[in-house]
Symmetry: C2
DNA sequence: TAAAAAGATGTTACCGTTAACAGCTCGTTG
DNA sequence: CAACGAGCTGTTAACGGTAACATCTTTTTA
């Protein structure tokens, strides 16, 4: 309701001076500046984003594109979303949600999650800057932010070793995307470094399928085995198959990956590699703004954190 | 990039005529209208939302306020959010996410979820229209849209009776909010109508606590008992406590409420009362626009649907 | 100490759209 | 057939900001 003209009148200066105080304060004398700031404070002026947008040819809107199937939508995205909204609000930007790739001209940039390989071409073709959540394949030169997946499973595997589990296996997921491959490598590298024999199983990312797998391979799981899982979903199924009766965490250790929601509703609660979503959100936004300003493409990996709960022994 | 002036030039008319074709087509002659529409089509004009917003004193932004604690955020909200975004995009509106109540002037309306009793005063004080997701208490006269909670547990209870479970109990949640009370009433009413003896337990909405409850009261749960639960979270704990070995669904039936995510990762998968989020999102938006146009406060209840899965017998 | 440069503030025009009003054409009416 | 009104289209000004330029004052410089 209050606008630049009101402030200008209150401070006995022109609109332009007020605008300068806000955008280029160094170009205004100290006395005038403090007077204007006092006036702004007094009448409670807040800049009109719409008018600013019109004259600057910007929209102050960033789109969050959720390409994952809505039905199976991971709670991860909800958490990331809320953090993104916070970070952007602080910069005076609005976060818009979308589930389809469309070449709008009412947005300034896009943050994408849940993408598949097949989406990347369409994303590269867009006229606005794009940042992926999740490492992009090497044949696409796209900015991304991801948790450091390899370090994540490395932490998990090391923790298994330190906790004294003898045999340590990995249950990965059957998608050929960098994050998935990286998680597997984190396990494999650590096992090689520690001179252990590694064993990898692969399943679809569903608790029931993981549960079934464990039942099928139970004969090959001696007591004192640690099971590093590619996701909390898989870990949930593994824990369900093993169960307290079979001795989780005493006889079998289980570690998941993601640390959102699922880890908490599991029983016992999952030891898991937690993605620091607040940091990831901040990085995604910073990365996008960097691209807006310098057209600079940056790839970033954020270190994850192992959260020790009840599916591994101390 | 293309603007009204470009279309006007292409169609040999004034900008105003083009604007009219878009906003008040009945005020333009048929020939001119078709010519202008052809021009719009030809050069691919899309109205500039920002400029429109400036002149109309609207923002074309609706805020989705998630007041639930971020850490425990229910996947429900994520689903609702995605549906809301779709509905609003179709109307040319942007959905903005926020987690705190602030009296912005860059939004046109608010849809609130996860609110508590203590938030309502602050919400009523806002200058923009507000619609609640979830029935408001009778002492607050606020527009809301909710699933019909009473019918939901009624469906669940009836289904238990039809499936032949002898004893039927209800595990509710320990919050004093209308949705929670309504769910309990749906159970109680049905039990009275069918001349059954009802029994209500109350727990916090966490799977582990529900699991513990079942262990504690196991002695009072004869075989052939049906357990109607206030949420899928509670149902998840109940199922875990009972388990296939104890005979879910043959000896014990369990029904949850919500039908998002949790019902699917449970084992066996939950029979549940599903909230139709697409419909709810549509209603929330319609309701909000009604308020924007006529200042009319409307309360709406959307019928839920029972989804039969593996925690009740056929 | 006069001219040039630097500093501070104001004026104008514009971003893309629409409401309000003005103007033109044509048909109706007394 | 002059006056009037209905129907259609165009002109102007405004929404709330900001860049570019203009103007005025002060400082620097030769």
């Amino acid at each position: 309701m209050v606008n630049l003209a009101d402030v200008a009148h209150q401070a006995h200066v022109s609109k332009m001076t007020v605008s300068r105080v806000i955008n280029h304060p160094e170009k205004v004398s100290t006395e005038v500046r403090t007077a204007v700031m006092a006036a702004i404070e007094l009448i409670g002026y807040q800049p009109n984003r719409i008018a600013k947008a019109l004259v600057n040819h910007q929209n102050y809107v960033i789109q969050f594109l959720v390409l994952e199937d809505v039905v199976t939508v991971e709670p991860n995205y909800a958490i990331l979303l809320l953090h993104l909204a916070d970070v952007l609000n602080q910069k005076g930007y609005t976060l818009e949600i979308s589930t389809t790739i469309t070449d709008n001209d009412h947005i300034d940039g896009i943050i994408v999650s849940g993408w598949r390989q097949s989406d990347l071409l369409a994303l590269e073709a867009l006229r606005v800057p794009v940042v992926l959540y999740g490492e992009s394949p090497t044949d696409h030169d796209m900015a991304y932010v991801d948790v450091d997946n390899r370090i994540g499973t490395m932490l998990a595997t090391r923790h298994m070793i330190n906790a004294g589990y003898q045999k340590i296996i990995y249950v990965g997921m059957d998608v050929d995307l960098p994050f998935s491959n990286e998680r597997e490598l984190g396990y494999l590298d650590t096992m090689v470094a520690k001179k252990r024999v590694s064993r990898v199983y692969t399943v679809a990312n569903h608790s029931h399928i993981a549960e079934q797998l464990i039942h099928n391979i139970m004969a090959q799981l001696p007591k004192n085995t640690g099971i590093v899982c590619a996701t909390d979903r898989i870990a949930l199924g593994v824990v369900r198959a093993l169960n307290k009766k079979n001795g989780v965490p005493e006889q079998y250790g289980v570690i998941g990956f993601d640390g959102v929601f699922i880890d908490q509703i599991s029983s016992p609660q999952l030891t898991t590699v937690h993605q620091p979503f607040a940091k990831i959100a901040q990085s995604l936004v910073d990365n996008l703004f960097l691209q807006l300003q310098n057209s600079e493409l940056v790839m970033q990996r954020i270190a994850p954190e192992l959260i020790r709960r009840d599916t591994t022994r101390a």
